[in-house]
Symmetry: C2
Subunit: 329 residues, 2 copies
């Protein structure tokens, strides 16, 4: 399936996005590059052995810290908007952007629209665990949510895990401050009855450590809590690996052992690495849109493109639509 890459999006664009596109092409996925053609060509010229890419020129660029809705409205010919229209027109099957995520969302809502019945699209984050993964949503699209939003996040999350990862009967957990049903804030308490009646495989409330232990396949929460969780998980990973590094450097014989172990520790770090996972899907809009971390490196961009290009992506939208429709009916 053909994927559009927003080459201008990301903290290190366009050089790193182009590198990512080249890496993905070496693995068989040729993205359609969207951005300022002269910039793109200049970057490509730095890689003489690079494959040829289709390029679609987009004169405008949405900067990382611009106001999302304004930028999308006023920069009609930004790479984000142009790429989104390629999805809308069917010229590509999916889009990947590591750009201003608010702008990607605004553009998706404006250009593609919402799947019928969906109140609020959500951003889903795939967190790698020891022997599995968990799909956490919303991780940032909606800071304030109601119970019905959370129900739809659960439905879409289940459909996503089933459709993209083939997870059988995905277990849904509702993030809370305690497993007991009496725990939870007002939002959680209003959501529990909806999830119980939803026909989903709802396992109840889950705490932060249940999520990391793989107690559920889909962890549902509002976009405020989910975003805090995602970034805290990232921060804890950094903190703990720093501590391990300090421990290794603290004694000469540890340094030696550390040198032997280094490849193993790196491999361990990689298993949690967001760059191994390819972008966070924006679920609920009419088109497969994947949002990458602003700080994405070339590998993260490449993996984002590979995920977006998966054959299953082609039928993702009907799968999400039917998951939401089934409960509305």
């Amino acid at each position: 399936m053909k994927v559009a890459l927003d080459v201008m999006g990301g903290d290190f664009a366009p050089s790193v996005t182009i590198e990512g596109a080249i890496q993905a092409a070496q693995q068989g996925t040729h993205a359609l590059l969207v951005g300022r053609a002269p910039d793109l060509e200049a970057e490509l010229a730095k890689h003489p052995g690079a494959p040829t890419f289709e390029i679609v020129h987009a004169p405008d660029v949405v900067e990382m810290h611009e106001h999302p809705a304004n930028a999308v409205r006023h920069k009609r010919e930004s790479s984000i908007n142009v790429a989104m229209r390629l999805v809308k027109d069917g010229a590509v099957g999916a889009l990947f952007s590591a750009g201003n995520s608010g702008a990607v969302m605004a553009s998706a809502l404006f250009t593609l629209g919402r799947i019928e019945g969906v109140h609020r699209p959500a951003i889903g984050g795939v967190l790698p665990l020891l022997h599995s993964r968990v799909f956490l949503l919303d991780v940032g699209a909606n800071a304030d949510c109601d119970a019905h939003n959370l129900l739809q996040f659960a439905q879409m999350g289940v459909a996503y895990m089933r459709h993209i990862y083939g997870t059988q009967n995905p277990r849904v957990g509702l993030v809370s401050n305690g497993e007991e049903e009496t725990k939870g804030n007002a939002l959680v308490q209003a959501t529990v009855p909806l999830l119980k009646e939803s026909g989903l495989n709802f396992i109840g409330n889950v705490e932060g450590k249940d999520v990391t232990r793989g107690a559920c396949d889909v962890a549902v929460t509002d976009g405020f809590t989910g975003n805090v969780m995602l970034k805290l998980a990232e921060g804890m990973q950094e903190l703990i690996l720093d501590l391990v590094r300090e421990a290794i450097m603290s004694k000469p014989h540890y340094k030696l052992a550390g040198a032997v172990l280094r490849p193993g520790l790196r491999a361990a770090g990689r298993r949690l690495d967001y760059t191994e996972y390819g972008g966070a899907p924006l679920v609920g809009v009419i088109g497969p849109v994947f949002i990458g971390h602003g700080r994405s490196n070339a590998k993260a961009i490449a993996n984002g493109l590979l995920t977006a290009a998966c054959p299953a992506t082609a039928t993702l939208i009907p799968a999400l639509a039917s998951a939401v429709a089934s409960s509305a009916g």
Copy 2:
């Protein structure tokens, strides 16, 4: 300063709480033991070399999963209530319990009452970082909060860090889904102006990874988000150390290097270990009350007692009271 230990509180009480009391005594802090006297004496008899303890008999026990307010109301002579009355009467200077935290809170509110002007007491968690620590509150007392609650949490958190850890001009961060002022849920957006006008050293909104990087000394949030964060941090620590362990076991030469490194890795893990930190203070009630993790081991109990017994604890309540009063005036 004399500290009461709720010997009946905790998943492994009373055996582990007694062991903790013995460890603390060996370090010079003799707790006053509160609980069912026959059980306490039977446990103490298992440690023939143990020092002598003062015991206060409390016939009732609040179980970990009882409804907090009901248990506190109906089990008047529970160890939690009896210990709380010892604080109230000045027989001890502080209390430590690893029991039902809701019941400890309910008992504290009922028996000790709130510091004047405090709307909601909060539970504060001290998270160890690479080269510092952060005081996160609320970590579970109030699932739903308003902006004024969060302002008071900030004031009390600052007073706590200054008073107990001697932190100069503690930096306050407001937990949010993005550092920009435009980010945040409705609660965060309502709280920002209050913190700006508070006279506190407010550094703005902080994301999960800013918290772990030590961007602030006091991280303020509602008790729902704070609790999710605390338990996620715990879960991530477990997950990452499991990954490191798996990496070490994956190859024979890694195993050897891992054996050399083991003490160093253990020391690294200990630096993040909640057992090194002594219980979470319940700030806002008239008396120093420290709540331990239900799963506390003997060392965690001992450290909880040592923290509670610190000389600074004796003047904690006036420090908290004046921090809250200064803004009310």
